[in-house]
Symmetry: C2
Subunit: 151 residues, 2 copies
Amino acid sequence: MTDIVFSERGDKDTVETGDLLMPKYDADGLIVAVVTDHVSGEVLMVGYMNAEALRRTIETGEAWYWSRSRKGFWKKGETSGQVQTVHEILTDCDQDALVLKVSVAGNGATCHVGYRSCFFRKVTSPASGTARLERVEAERVYDPNEVYGKH
Amino acid sequence: MTDIVFSERGDKDTVETGDLLMPKYDADGLIVAVVTDHVSGEVLMVGYMNAEALRRTIETGEAWYWSRSRKGFWKKGETSGQVQTVHEILTDCDQDALVLKVSVAGNGATCHVGYRSCFFRKVTSPASGTARLERVEAERVYDPNEVYGKH
């Protein structure tokens, strides 16, 4: 546990325009964090934090998340080296979402599939019928099969 | 209902690297949507969509959400005029998050508090103690009290 304290939720005005961080967690105690590249602004990934992950992130300056699938703390980059140094954390009007502006260490990729951003596909827009995806990032930064073996 | 069809979830490889849109909804049937400015890349807001809101967004090219507080469909800008024209929709590796690249009509603000972005405050970083917020957007686009009266 760290020493950083978040304030209890206040009234609407205090939450929306005040100067105290009063995070609103969902039923699972999590808040969504949108991670962007500090320089380009590109959205790299979306993660989730509980209060302690947010405290660790603020205290250490490196991004910690709560893994919903593994149900445990997850320091991004601990195995991959893709550690996120956090330059700025923003919150929105109702304080139920965060934006983290980061720079990525290691090979510079964020996605475990090998791309710079997890958002490497766009929806193509048919008038009707099956919605399809198309890659917007042409090249992967690395091939995870070569680095980690088939998974 | 529209005619656009989303595919059933497939195996890990199909979801993560395939070319079919297979959205993963949470327990409430929602998927998170990160909304960015089409030109600057700035994160403007975070919203939630159910399958039908996503279909309407793809079909009409304007952003529809599901309001968790009002439990109903919400076409952004219907009352404020801050309609979002959607230029691109991205999805991430596990297809449980979306990025919408939009341009904003009306007065160009997205936040109901009057700012261009809902993320108009940053967390200041104490070593310990109470986490505080500081405005990063100096000027509001408009004063909602003047437009809509006190609320």
